[in-house]
Amino acid sequence: MAMAANEIEALIKAAIPDARVTVEDLAGDGDHYAATVVSETFRGIPRVKQHQIVYAALRGRMGGELHALALQTSAPES
């Protein structure tokens, strides 16, 4: 059921090529992660949309295989 941190990072980068992604395994159980995603794609769009873009990149795994992914998204500081 669990997913590896580098798998999460790879999926996000595949969908958002310019993304700077950091994934942290919070509990060491491969099931509770925190991810920070910084991409130019996010500039000027609402947070809900930003998170939806990341969830779309994870192609249905969020809420299934991935129980908990605390997500923080932002555009790079200019």
Partner: protein, 112 residues
């Protein structure tokens, strides 16, 4: 079938100014993420209605496709999807949530 549950959700979010889809109830949340959103809303003195997705499999799947959002909890204010636990927490900490409640005319305690 999907249409029935979509209609139900639409009616709920139209009727309740602040509507929270969560696991468990406001008194007995059954997930830490749901509990945190309840805690924030309670702290802000915002009146809200909840629906327990654990009691209703159709709603649990329905709300995810309705919002195009894969996880629970989900917060709606005046029929508009605000976000899940991370977004609500971030907005609370930055003061944006209070601004949103004020803009939407929702009763809440103002921070001194």
């Amino acid at each position: 079938m999907a249409n029935d549950v979509f209609e139900r959700i639409q009616t709920e979010i139209d009727q309740a100014p602040v509507m929270l889809y969560m696991k468990g109830t406001a008194l007995f949340p059954q997930c830490g993420f749901s509990a945190r959103v309840v805690q924030i809303l309670t702290h802000m003195g915002v009146p809200f209605k909840t629906a327990n997705v654990l009691e209703d499999a159709e709603l649990r799947d329905g709300i995810k496709s309705f919002s195009q959002w894969p996880t629970i909890p989900q917060l709606y204010v005046k029929g508009e999807f605000v976000g899940g636990c991370d977004i609500v927490t971030e907005m609370f900490q930055s003061g944006e949530l209070e601004t949103l409640m004020a803009d939407k005319g929702i009763e809440h305690k103002t921070e001194a």
